[in-house]
């Protein structure tokens, strides 16, 4: 390593300008958002009269908030576990392949490179009741009675969203886990094979215990995505039918930019931030150690 020449004008300008910009756009804005959440700002003109936690109470007492929050928890639970399960299956399957793993990796990551807006558009057609893709396949198979309404069914809409998110993210999760599997020393795998371990017990007892860190990375990344996801839901169900598939990001957007209740919107955003911090702070702390 070379020592940083702190007298170098360029180094100082580069570091201070980048840190200042991030300081404003990440940390300053976060702080400013918290201040807005403590004001009485409703309507288009800002009013910076501090009113304490009033907007949090307003937010929490709104049934739409409670629906959004519980949907968000459901979404996080099923989205993270589903993506990790499929990602792990794919990673193990591709790890065992002697040929063709490269193109398949590329193939499975493809949905991740598609815009959430496009994903929502494609899946809205998949889920269209009656003539959509899923129902016409079911119809062709003589399973037309399985048409259960999909995104038009308020009890199912949030699960339709979760399935679409798993579609987008399981390939990406596969790559994170595959990187971990590839870093398990080959000598251990060879030794286990000599001892007669089956593929299942090899992965169960040798590989999976050693990819705890990639699993944790996948968990943290998917958690952050699960909290901030917006465009996909906005295009797929727009939160509907009714508010059945609302999550916090949608509720925050509607509250702020459609109803202009900026203090309440800022309060919802702050609650979302807290949710992310619960996972990301320990994550960054652990990552810093290595």
């Amino acid at each position: 390593m070379v020592k940083l020449d702190i007298n170098s004008f360029f180094n100082v300008v580069l570091l201070t300008s980048v840190l200042t910009l991030l300081g404003i756009f990440v940390y300053g804005f976060t702080g400013w958002n918290i201040i807005i959440s403590l004001t009485t700002w409703t309507g288009l003109t800002p009013t910076y009269e501090i009113k304490g936690l009033q907007s949090y109470l307003t937010a929490l007492s709104n049934p739409v908030f409670l629906k959004s929050f519980s949907n968000n928890i459901i979404l996080l639970g099923f989205f993270i576990s589903g993506s990790i399960l499929i990602g792990l299956l794919l990673a193990i399957a591709l790890d065992q392949m002697e040929r063709g793993a490269g193109p398949l990796r590329t193939f499975f990551v493809l949905p991740f490179t598609i815009s959430y807006v496009v994903a929502g558009t494609l899946w809205a057609w998949m889920y269209t009741p009656g003539e959509g893709v899923i129902d016409s396949i079911l119809g062709a198979l003589g399973l037309g009675f399985l048409d259960i309404g999909w995104i038009a069914n308020p009890r199912l809409s949030i699960y339709c969203i979760i399935l679409t998110m798993i579609w987008q993210f399981s390939g990406y999760t596969m790559i994170i886990l595959l990187a971990g599997i590839k870093s398990v020393p080959f000598s251990q795998i060879a030794a286990a094979r000599v001892d007669g371990a089956t593929s299942f017990s090899l992965y169960r007892h040798i590989v999976i215990p050693q990819i705890k860190q990639p699993l944790f990375i996948a968990f943290a990344v998917l958690f952050a995505f699960g909290v901030k996801t917006f465009a996909l839901i906005w295009t797929l169900t727009a939160g509907g039918p009714g508010v059945s598939s609302y999550i916090l990001s949608l509720h925050m957007y509607r509250t702020s930019f459609a109803s202009f209740q900026f203090a309440e919107g800022a309060a919802i955003a702050t609650i979302m931030l807290m949710l992310v911090l619960v996972v990301i702070v320990p994550y960054l702390y652990i990552m810093r150690e290595k």
């Binding site: 590329t106 493809l110 815009s115 496009v118 998949m126 990001s249 702020s256 955003a269």
Partner: protein, 269 residues
């Protein structure tokens, strides 16, 4: 074939269908007339009717140009800055380097909703609301964390001895960067640039709160508007979705293996 192998192959095939089905049915649907869409199975292509693409292009053409402009500039700026910061954080010794890295990295996980209202306020105050410049600035700044992370992880693989050698030859910090590091950075620039291009091109949230109207709106916002105003016209919607996906898809088909290789080598963590 062993039963476990067979089960694995079956799972992979089912997941391949699951992955590709939405894309496939979008392709077939986009090439059908409205009445064909109602009459025929979405799985089976029945004609080559290109008018949907013409219709989608009429609505998305200009927004796609907007997207292209701000995406290229923001990708360029954030990638170059990420490279310089990644270099400073791995090859140049200074106190607090780890803290600076964590300070930068946090922005990657930030739920953007929690900065959205202040962002719109500042952009309006600066006169950058509803401008491509505002989009470039926003995407550049929020792209710095992930770019820095990518380059930091890549530069971790470059041996320090190369830096010493250059130092002994009397090169300063940035001459070393230009002469030693940059020539070794082709792959990380491809990987990071591709990731950023895709991410910025695909973004909807910043676009929808920072722009309005055809002259500045990104293609993603235009697609949502199209979807909202032609509710049951699935042929048009699918054509629009595919049209928007085309630039990133081409990039991915030609350079995707570098991106995947970068991922597998640990670019994300």
């Amino acid at each position: 074939m062993k039963p476990s192998r067979l089960a694995m192959s079956l799972i992979v095939i089912v997941l391949m269908i699951f992955s590709f089905l939405p894309i496939w049915s979008a392709i077939t649907t986009s090439l059908k007339t409205a009445s064909e869409i109602r009459r025929t199975s979405p799985l089976i292509p029945s004609s080559l009717y290109f008018a949907n693409f013409g219709g989608a292009w009429a609505k998305l053409g200009r927004p796609m140009q907007n997207s292209l402009i701000f995406t290229i500039f923001a990708t360029l700026f954030s990638t170059v800055l990420g490279s310089m910061l990644g270099y400073l954080l791995t090859k140049v010794k200074f106190r607090w380097a780890n803290h600076v890295f964590i300070f930068i990295l946090f922005g990657m996980y930030l739920p953007y909703q929690s900065i959205l209202i202040p962002l719109v306020q500042l952009m309006s105050r600066l006169g950058l609301y509803n401008t491509l410049l505002g989009m470039i600035l926003t995407h550049t700044i929020y792209g710095i964390p992930i770019c820095t992370l990518f380059f930091r992880n890549f530069y971790g693989f470059i041996p320090d001895s190369l830096i010493y050698a250059s130092k002994i030859d009397g090169a300063g910090t940035w001459r070393t960067y230009l002469e030693i590091i940059l020539p070794l950075s082709v792959i990380p620039f491809v990987v990071t640039g591709m990731y950023q291009f895709t991410r910025i091109w695909n973004d909807y949230l910043f676009g929808v709160v920072l722009t309005f109207g055809e002259r500045t709106m990104p293609a993603t916002v235009a697609l949502v508007n199209l979807k909202g105003s032609f509710v049951a016209d699935y042929g048009l919607q699918m054509a629009g979705g595919l049209l928007i996906t085309l630039p990133t898809l081409l990039l991915y088909i030609f350079l995707g293996k570098y991106l995947i290789r970068g991922y597998v080598r640990g670019a994300i963590r």
